[in-house]
Structures are given as structure tokens and as C-alpha cells.
């Protein structure tokens, strides 16, 4: 090929018509592409016009942000003073003022302990160890920190725990205790031994078939009658038992999904290597299955987190009940909306972030199984 041959240079493409690109093109394409679409756009704008301005006016423009009693609030706007005054209660419940650092410390420990789990730089092996450590050791530390009674910390009765603290305690304990139980149940359900399978299926279907509220009623009203005379549990512990049993059934179904996704060849290969049942499960099947169902586990955790609000009905003072209680405070009547909006915002922040985390995780884990 000689260098002197004439290069064929095509005429550069014409730019697209100005009304099909840029902002105008986008609007035409996405909002006004057909008569129906135009109508829908107008409807949506009208809806937004109905909803947004009053909310903005109430929540921000006309709202009162500082003060220390109800007189400080302008009528017509939100009174965020209500939240400000009760904030400590919403977070800690009746936890004594001077001891609240213990709650903060417990939370900080969790945040710092769990942070490496979300870092890419940390190796997977370390993450697993850290995760297991958190699951096992952290609850013990948290329990002694919160309850006290040793290391010179004064005892804080569980009846004084409340607010977001109690919400997180119930959700956290329900989760960590339900996970091992759920795994066992899932294994039992997939077992080839008919008696064990029947027991597990019955257990799982029973707890999944009844509403959590009846479970809580049962744990608060019936459980005491099941125990021998003179033996009784703390009210919180009873609720925790109920929540754990309930949650473990849901967890079992999630884990079962993971177990079913593992090809049979894996089990057969393990058997060929001479591994027994527990080694097959513990070393081959479960590590793969659990990795698959992490998003599912996060999703049940979100559901549990929202469901903890039901303990209000058996008289535990979680975030929901603290807010509800504050709205009946005679000095602060008439601020239900502010209270509920605040509580909703807190729950929303937790759940939204968790669900996004789980979606991201799902995408990341999914790639590994594409062929």
C-alpha cells in the first residue's frame, strides 16, 4: 500500500435536528411524545402543585425551628421545637441522663466495628472473621454496656430502655438470634429425614402464618403461664423471644432459597470427597448459599426493623411509642403530625439506605454467577 493513496474522508454526520437533542429533545421525548403523554404530564404537574407547596410551606417556610415551649411556635407551620425538646427521649427513652454516653459508646462500637465490612480494601477472609466476631462478641459487650451491673456501671433496668435504642436492640437481637436458628430450620426443611422435615415445616409454617401482633400478645400474656411457677422473664426478653421465633421462620425461608440455588453437583462432589453431612453443609453448601441470600437477609431485616414498631401494642417504649407518648403529653398536645413525620423520617432513613445497600449488593454479587 502506498502512502500516497487518497484517503476517503466521509462527510461528517449532520448534527441531529435541534428539537430532538438537548433539553428540548429530552422534554419532547420523555414528556410530550403523544397526546396521552401530554395529558399525563399535565396531570403529574397538577398533582405536584397540589402536594409540594403546602408541604414546603408547612414543614419549612412557616415552621418554627427553635424555642423551648409550645408558645414559641407559630400557628400554621410545623413546630419542630416539639421534636427538639423531646429528642433525647426519642433516642434513648427513659435511659438516665448521666448514663446516655453508654448508649452512644455502644453505637460507636458497632459503627467502627462494622465499617471494615463495607470497605473494598479489606480482604474477604478478614471480613468473614470480623462479621462472625461482631455477631458473637458484640452482643455480649453491648449487653453489659447497656444493662450495667458490672465493671462499676450502675444497672439500668430494661424498662428504662426506650426510643430508637430499644428499636435497634429489638431489631438487632431479633436478627442475630434468628440467623442461626433460621439456618438450622432451613437445613431441617431440606433434610431427607421425614420426622425432622415435618417438624421444621410445621414450625416455619406456623410462625409465618400468624401476624406478629398475636405473637407479641402471646409472648406478653401467655408465655408466663407456660413457665414453671416463680420463674419469669423480663418483659423485653419475652418480646425478644417472640420476635426471634417469628423472624427465624422468615429467615429459614430466605436461607432455603439459597440452599435450593446450589447445584446438586456440589453436594455430590463433597460426598465423593468423603465429607459428612455437617462438613458438606458447613464447608461447601452454606458458604455459597449464604452469600447468595445476603440481599434477602437484608430485606427481612428491613421488614423486621419496621415491624419492631408493633411492640407499642404490648407497652414497650420503642421509638414509635415514645413519639406516640410525647404527642399525648399535656404540655404538647396537638403536635401529632410533627411527631409522626419525625418518626417516619427516622424509619425511612434506615430502611431506604438498607434497601439501597441490598440492591447494590445484589448487583455486585450477581456478576459472580453469570456465565
Amino acid at each position: 500500500m502506498s502512502e500516497s493513496s487518497i484517503a476517503h474522508v466521509p462527510h461528517p454526520n449532520l448534527p441531529p435536528p435541534s428539537n430532538s437533542i438537548g433539553a428540548i429533545g429530552w422534554v419532547r421525548h420523555n414528556l410530550l411524545s403523544s397526546p396521552l403523554n401530554i395529558a399525563l404530564t399535565l396531570l403529574a404537574i397538577w398533582l405536584l402543585y397540589l402536594i409540594i407547596p403546602p408541604i414546603l410551606r408547612w414543614a419549612i417556610i412557616d415552621a418554627t425551628w427553635s424555642g423551648d415551649n409550645r408558645e414559641a411556635c407559630h400557628p400554621g407551620g410545623a413546630c419542630w421545637v416539639f421534636i427538639q425538646v423531646h429528642f433525647g427521649q426519642f433516642m434513648y427513652g427513659f435511659y438516665p441522663d448521666g448514663q446516655r454516653w453508654r448508649v452512644d459508646l455502644t453505637a460507636l462500637l458497632l459503627i467502627f466495628g462494622a465499617a471494615p465490612l463495607f470497605m473494598h480494601a479489606v480482604s474477604n477472609r478478614l471480613k468473614v472473621r470480623l462479621g462472625l466476631g461482631l455477631l458473637v462478641i458484640y452482643p455480649v459487650i453491648a449487653f453489659f454496656l447497656l444493662k450495667g451491673g458490672s465493671f462499676g456501671l450502675p444497672v439500668v433496668e430494661t424498662s428504662q430502655w426506650g426510643g430508637l435504642l430499644l428499636t435497634l436492640v429489638i431489631a438487632g437481637v431479633g436478627m442475630t438470634a434468628a440467623l442461626p436458628l433460621g439456618i438450622l430450620l432451613a437445613l431441617g426443611r431440606r433434610s431427607r429425614l421425614p420426622a425432622i422435615q415435618t417438624l421444621c415445616v410445621t414450625f416455619i409454617e406456623f410462625w409465618r402464618g400468624v401476624p406478629l401482633i398475636t405473637v407479641l400478645f402471646m409472648s406478653s400474656v401467655m408465655l408466663p403461664l407456660f413457665l414453671p411457677a416463680g420463674m419469669n422473664f423480663d418483659k423485653l426478653l419475652r418480646a425478644l423471644i417472640g420476635v426471634t421465633l417469628f423472624q427465624s421462620a422468615y429467615m429459614a425461608e430466605v436461607v432455603r432459597g439459597g440452599l435450593q440455588a446450589i447445584p446438586k453437583g456440589q453436594v455430590e462432589a463433597a460426598a465423593a470427597l468423603g465429607l459428612g453431612y455437617w462438613k458438606t453443609m458447613g464447608l461447601i453448601v452454606l458458604p455459597q448459599a449464604l452469600k447468595l441470600v445476603i440481599p434477602g437477609i437484608v430485606n427481612t431485616f428491613i421488614a423486621l426493623f419496621k415491624d419492631t414498631s408493633l411492640v407499642l401494642i404490648i407497652g414497650l417504649f420503642d421509638l414509635m411509642n415514645m413519639v406516640h407518648n410525647a404527642t399525648t403529653n399535656p404540655d404538647w398536645l396537638g403536635f401529632s403530625t410533627e411527631g409522626y413525620v419525625f418518626a417516619a423520617a427516622v424509619y425511612w432513613l434506615f430502611c431506604f439506605n438498607m434497601s439501597h445497600f441490598s440492591q447494590k449488593l445484589e448487583k455486585r454479587l450477581h456478576t459472580g454467577h453469570k456465565r
Binding site: 403523554n37 400468624v210 398475636t214 400478645f217 401467655m222 414509635m320
Partner: protein, 393 residues
């Protein structure tokens, strides 16, 4: 020469998988039964020690309290057994209405989520992300204590043509009162339904034979509405409307939707619809685009494509998780207890339990009801799954 392999040593019996399997199961059963007996024994002892009555005799003793909403005749002289039925029907009512509303809303939002209109799709997304991540109980409180408390008092009711009234006590609507002769209208309706069924079969056969379509939808509608209306007119309009009117403290007469039910219903359907919307979206997305293209290339128009190609396949994916949501909604309706709607948990596991002190019996009955409902639904689900399962080569 060839060495004989040593005769296989019989493993000790505790290593025999079959023996082990049996042993494990026996142990599991014994432990379960022992645990059950232990609890039963404790309960018996406790009940006797504390002198608490037990058994189901209380169901036939008079209740002595009133209930705000009863679908069957009930008065304080009725017994606890009737309280149970009243409460159960209230649960079923709110669940059934909730399922209808949530499905409607969920399908609309789910389809809106896939809309080509950016604004509509985003609005649907915001709706889903907001209401899905807030606890249901909080939403019930919000509707009940914040929204429905803002409507006016009975004397300042909002009214629609002096027939429908909205106030803090509820939404009052005219109640139909059937006069003698209305039975003929029902008969006419039954006949119309029969005719439509026959028509459908005939049209199908004709289309199979000749390829000619018959406007079945329009004809059926005309039959279903027209025939009963004509009979209604012939029978001399045997239907009166009882209008609600303000007497004393409250509106009397007519049908009323109490705010307890309204807020429960709103919260249940708004919350569940977010989940249904996501199910619908993923169901529709699960149908591969090739199906749509193939259908269009066969000459079907877009509405027929949706009806005959996309939806039947999407429904296969949608229905199982959808049923799960229906089950959840039914179980979640038990949150009625928090705002005083007399459902099974509030009126039976709550008030009755409290008045009789028979905690075990009341909770056991309540749990048994929910279990039965969920077992029935899962049986139905299994049947459906078997019916629609893809028959693969």
C-alpha cells in the same frame, strides 16, 4: 499373586447412616414431645394454682359490651361466640376491601413506573420508595390521628347533595332498602349472567369455525346492565334509599364508613400497593421484549399484544408473590387493635381476653384463624402454580 482385598469391616452401628437417621429423628421427636408436655404440664399447674378458669365454656356466656361495627346482628346480650364471628367478619371485610384497593393502586403505580413519561415514572418511584420504607403502624396512626382528625364535626359536615356526608364520625352514605319485588331483579341478573356465559361459548365456537369475531364485551355489558334495569323498571322500582340525617349527636341511618376502618383501609392499601407495584413492574419486565416484537410482527395491535401476549405471561410471574402480599395484608389488618377497629385481634384477642381472663383460649383461637386463612391461601396457590406451570418439552 493377586492379593485379596481385606474383607470390608462392618462399621460400628452408630456409624451406619440408616441407624443414625432413625436415631436423630427419634431424638428430635422425643425432645419436641417432651418440651410440649413440659409446657402443657406447667400451664395446667399454673392455671390450677392461680385458680384461673379454663376451657371454651366462656364462648356461650353473654359478652355484655357493645361493638361499633357489626356485620351480623349483635347486642350486649349476645355471647362471646358471636363476638368472635363479628370480629372475624370485620377482619375479613377490611382485608377484602384492602386487597381490592391495593391491587388497583398497585397495578396503576406499577404500570406508571414503566411509563415512557419521565415525570410519571419518577412520581411512581417516589411514591413506592416513600411508603414502602415507613412502618405500617405509623402510617395507620398518621391517617387516623393526623389526617382523619382534620375533617369537621357532625354539625359542620361536608355534604354531597344531602345524601353523602363526611365528618369526623365517618363517611355517611345512603343505604339501599330492598322492597318486595326486588327478588325479580336478582333473578334477571342471574339470567343475564347465564346468557353471557352461553354467548361467550357460542362466539368462541363461531370464531373457531368461521374466523369471525363477535363483539362479546359490548354485548355482555348491555345484557348485564340492561336486563336487570328493564325488570327493575317493570317491577315498579322496588328499591328505596335510606338517607343519613343528623339527629341528636350523630347522623342516623344510611351506611357509614367509620374513620377507624377508613384509616386502616387507606394505610393497608397504600402500604401494600407499593409492594404490588414492584411485583407488577418486575412481572412485566420479565416478559422478554422478543415476545412483544413477535406479536407485533404477527399483526396484532398493541392493545391485543398486551392482552393476549404480555399479560398472560406476566401474570404467571406476578400472581404467586401477589398472593403473598394479600396474605400479608390480611395479617397486617390485625394492627386494627392500635386504633380501636373491632377486628379479630382487637375485639376477640383483646377485649374478650380481658373480660374473661382466658388468655390461652383467646390467643389460640385467634392464631388458629390466621393459620387457617394462610394455609387455605397457600393451598390455592399451589393448585394455581401446578395449573400454570410451563409444560416444557
Amino acid at each position: 499373586m493377586a492379593e485379596h482385598a481385606p474383607a470390608p469391616v462392618k462399621p460400628p452401628f452408630w456409624n451406619d447412616p440408616q441407624v443414625r437417621a432413625i436415631a436423630f429423628q427419634v431424638i428430635a421427636l422425643v425432645v419436641t414431645v417432651a418440651f410440649g408436655l413440659y409446657i402443657f404440664h406447667n400451664t395446667q399447674l399454673n392455671l390450677r394454682r392461680l385458680g384461673i378458669a379454663s376451657g371454651f365454656d366462656f364462648l356461650s356466656s353473654p359478652s355484655g359490651f357493645d361493638i361499633i361495627q357489626t356485620l351480623i346482628p349483635y347486642s350486649p346480650t349476645s355471647n362471646y361466640g358471636q363476638v368472635f364471628w363479628v370480629a372475624l367478619l370485620n377482619t375479613l371485610l377490611v382485608s377484602a376491601l384492602g386487597i381490592v384497593l391495593a391491587t388497583l393502586l398497585g397495578f396503576i403505580v406499577g404500570i406508571a413506573r414503566l411509563s415512557k413519561n419521565w415525570l410519571v415514572a419518577k412520581l411512581a418511584l417516589i411514591y413506592i420508595e416513600t411508603f414502602r420504607n415507613i412502618p405500617l403502624l405509623l402510617q395507620i396512626f398518621f391517617w387516623y390521628f393526623a389526617v382523619l382528625r382534620a375533617v369537621p364535626a357532625p354539625r359542620q359536615s361536608l355534604s354531597l347533595g344531602d345524601a353523602v356526608f363526611l365528618n369526623i364520625r365517618g363517611l355517611y352514605m345512603p343505604a339501599p332498602q330492598f322492597q318486595p319485588g326486588f327478588g325479580w331483579v336478582l333473578v334477571a341478573l342471574a339470567i343475564a349472567i347465564g346468557l353471557v356465559w352461553w354467548l361467550k361459548r357460542w362466539a368462541w365456537q363461531r370464531q373457531m369455525a368461521t374466523g369471525q369475531a363477535f363483539p362479546i364485551l359490548r354485548t355482555s355489558l348491555a345484557l348485564l346492565l340492561g336486563l336487570p334495569l328493564v325488570v327493575f323498571w317493570l317491577a315498579g322500582s322496588p328499591l328505596h334509599w335510606q338517607l343519613p340525617e343528623l339527629r341528636g349527636f350523630n347522623f342516623q341511618g344510611g351506611w357509614v364508613v367509620i374513620p377507624e376502618m377508613a384509616s386502616l383501609l387507606l394505610a393497608l392499601s397504600v402500604y401494600t400497593a407499593t409492594f404490588i407495584a414492584e411485583i407488577v413492574r418486575s412481572g412485566i419486565q420479565a416478559v422478554s421484549h422478543g415476545q412483544t416484537e413477535a406479536s407485533l410482527s404477527l399483526g396484532l395491535n398493541s392493545s391485543l399484544t398486551l392482552r393476549l401476549v404480555v399479560l398472560p405471561q406476566a401474570l404467571r410471574v406476578i400472581i404467586p408473590p401477589l398472593t403473598n402480599q394479600y396474605l400479608n395484608l390480611t395479617k397486617n389488618s390485625s394492627l386494627a387493635a392500635a386504633i380501636g377497629y373491632p377486628d379479630l385481634v382487637a375485639a376477640f384477642a383483646g377485649t374478650t381476653l380481658n373480660q374473661t381472663g382466658q388468655a390461652i383460649e383467646c390467643i389460640a383461637i385467634t392464631m388458629a384463624v390466621y393459620l387457617t386463612i394462610s394455609l387455605l391461601i397457600s393451598l390455592g396457590m399451589n393448585w394455581y402454580n401446578r395449573r400454570v406451570a410451563l409444560v416444557e418439552r
